[in-house]
Amino acid sequence: MNTLRIANLTFREAVRRKALYGAIALTLAILAVYAWGTGWAVNEIYTQTPRGAIVRLALQSGVDVRLLAVGELLLAGLFAVSNIAGLLAIFLAAGTIAQEIEQGTLHSILCKPIARWQVVLGKWLGGSAMLSVYVAVTASATVAIIYWHAGYVPSNLPLGIALLTLKAMLLFSVTMIGSAFAPAIATGIAMFIVYVAANVAGMVEQIGVAAEIEAMVRTGIVASLILPSDALWKMSASAVQPPNPLPALGIKLSVGPFGVVEPPSVWMGVYAALYTAAALGLTTLIFSRRDV
């Protein structure tokens, strides 16, 4: 019960201090630009004869290039949502315990009959609820824009959104570890660096898969074990992208920069969930020993 009370407090704080509104409003503004650009692009895709050697090659093999292009536009939008949600998770979580200790707002809470793990779990639940709202609203808007312009419906939208949400929750819990012992800014910067590095490692893995260079693939896999955020993005992308015809042709390439050739297995999803839980456990352990 106390856990839910803290969750509720965390969520309401985000709403009342307009942090959530601001993030959603700004993202929707970006999506408006996205909608405008997408309209143009889709128009061009469907009304003009495609140019470019690769496209002509693909058309000759009977591939629906237009659908692939639309899929790529969708992934571009979701890629933005995924990264903004990820950074939002990092910066919200970085301050969640650290700032409350600094400001002293925890003093009057921790002296009540409440355990430290309840505070940690409650804050994570509240943050997760917030991020879920954010991801649901902005990802749905992205999908709606594509549907509106091109009539494309992703094959497994709920799974795609769920995985994006899990990614944000994962980042929130991992960042909380830092928040339990380090100042908010230090944690935020450190996690930002780790997050970017994980994304880069994910790209290296993609290139390794395409070029069939084992060492690059292994680098990527190790990186996703260290922080499975990019792996979750890849799983999400693979759930919403149009079927990739290239592997069947013996080419291990994604359709565009945002697409995925070989999505991580479902076990990576399980690993990410366990990882999130472990991060919460570690946060509790550190926070329980911390003087406030």
Partner: protein
Amino acid sequence: MVAAIRVETPARPEAARAAGTAGGTTPLAVETAGLRKEYGRKVAVANLSLAVPPGEVFGFLGPNGAGKSTTVKMLVGLVRPTAGTGWLLGHPLGDTRARRRLGFLPELFRFHEWQRAEEFLDFHASLYGVPRAERERRIAEVLALAGLDARAHDVLRTFSKGMLQRIGIAQALIGDPRLVILDEPTSALDPLGRRDVRDVIRRLRERGITVFLNSHLLSEVEMVCDRVAIIDRGRVVRQGRLAELVAGAYEAEVHLEHPSPALLHALETRWPAVHRPDTAATADTVEGGATGDNTLVVRLAIQDERELPSIAEAIVRGGGRLRALVPRRMSLEDLFVQSVETRNA
């Protein structure tokens, strides 16, 4: 989960020893044994052993940096002791049950400022597990007690510092506590607010609630406390009933107009001077309200008030002009200064 904790950490048997209460079953409100806190190499609290009987107002005094706040933070579970243990209402420190009937006003009273006053109190009441049906009544009660009835719907961001301290006191009382720990509850309050807080403390005592008061406002402590402990640099230097600590030490404050040296000498040979300014018309004369008119204030040690007529007689016989003769107990301030200075000497 809770049941498991209950089995693992039984209430301390010794704590069940009565502290002056009939029946012998009421545990001490606060008890610590060798409580210690080190920050790196700095010892903030050194082997502190306190015993606070239930139903009393306990003053915890000490100069800045003595370790008062660190001690109460250990009591309420914000800070982990480096060594030693303690019990609140018979439950070991750190046990959430110890905090069920505990109210605490932190020294740093900062709250979630986006909350409305009643919403803030509702949240804290819920943390104590106060049933929803009862919360509204409780909230109205503590708001009235804190003198904030008119601000119930206002957002805390709009509160002044003193009002935030008041809502902090309200928050400490919302869970129907048996023990209230206040860390400098009047630091931001105006004189009326201070008097209000004293009234609140007295009312709590009437209801049998133990109050643990951190303060260095000695006059305030003197007015409300039954028992005090004075700490300095993390160690208890005095502890006991206030009345006993300052007992037997009476003094007479004598205000004299242009006293002759002979008269002063005569007085001081019979009653040792506790305090006498070197020259007339020092700051001490202002104390008596007779500014700059050469009134000298001498404080003489006496056994009890029955000696006052003899002093008056001696002054009149010596040709002195007596303006005022006030019997005083040795003040807590005297005790405090004496205790802390002795240690520092």
